[in-house]
Amino acid sequence: MKFKAMTALAGLLAISAVGAANADPVEDELVINDEIEIVTRTAAPEHMEYIDEIMSGWLFREDDTRDMERDDFDNPGMLAVEAAMEVWETADGTEGKSCADCHGSVEEADIAGVRAVYPKWHEASGEVRTLEMAINDCRTEQMGAEPWGYTSADLTNMSALMSYMSRGLPMNVAIDGPVQATWERGKEIYYTRYGQLELACANCHEDNYGNMIRADHLSQGQTNAFPAYRLKDAALVPIHKRFQGCIRDTRAETFSPGSPEFVALELYVASRGNGLSVEGPSVRN
């Protein structure tokens, strides 16, 4: 982390020296259920200027929290996946169709890899869409059902099932072509200071990952492991809700979940994780 040394203030260095025992990411490898190997550390994608190696947030958590993710039985996020599997088979809306009627049963559905490429361009509407928007689009257009609330448990559970089906595959969102303008906007948001504390995403997650911010261990803010089961919430947290939490902590008015700003930010942040494995539903503190 050469960049950290250049930018950190003397005071911060003193603090990190005190907390050195549990700061910095750990050297550890994640294999889920003794079979799915997760890439938690890899070379940064080319477009990133200031970081050489990207790391999953898993490496920044405590031993006990990391262990919970090694076995699906210990991962409370899997309860949401199981709930979504039931919903997958349940018909809803005026068309009387379930997810399974078009996509096949959970076992045979050709959904693997879908999580890894979202957010992506949606040709018909001419906009970038997140996976959550795509699921709701399926509900309203194909099933004739009411869309789920953007951060509702129903939608987050289904999103967790999508992650589960793509688990272990590398994140690979496109950043050029039609999505480029949105991606540039996301990048701009990432480097813009917000709130009374005047903090940009980059100030914590690029300049200071590995350091402590009071009692929290800063990660690179990767999105590959979402939705994440946060122990402090005892619930799965979708990406946009986490963005909201971060921006709120800068003491700013936040954007809304599902807003164009957050869609752009999600695309940009996801592209910073290109190469890491899809890891959701993950366990974090």
Partner: protein, 109 residues
């Protein structure tokens, strides 16, 4: 009445006689403490699993009294000695009188 309650148990199917095995159990349950207030300002009544037991061939392995401070989806992990082939029987007792059960058989081999 708690909804979506589903017990889960992870136990080995086989063990050597006298071997100590690790058993993991999880039950999905809201574990409403009785201390929280709902949107209308009234207390949400307490609704928790208040007791969990595990027996092996009718003999008690573990018997736990559970209190409202225990989090949602209570998880227990414990070790048990398997002296012979038989059944682990797991029982959860709900405040509302419901009893949830699961059985796992262990063979010697």
């Amino acid at each position: 009445m708690a909804e979506g309650v589903k017990p889960r148990v992870k136990a080995p199917k086989k063990a050597a006689a006298g071997e100590t095995v690790t058993i993991k159990t999880l039950i999905s349950h809201p574990m409403e403490s009785g201390q929280r207030k709902g949107k209308d300002g009234n207390l949400i009544p307490r609704s928790i699993i208040n007791r969990f037991t595990c027996e092996f061939n009718g003999k008690s392995v573990i018997d736990v009294t559970m209190e409202p401070a225990i989090s949602t989806n209570p998880y227990f992990e414990f070790d048990a000695v398997v002296p012979e082939a038989g059944d682990f029987k797991f029982t959860w007792y709900d405040d509302d009188g419901s009893v949830y059960e699961d059985v796992k058989s262990v063979a010697i081999g």
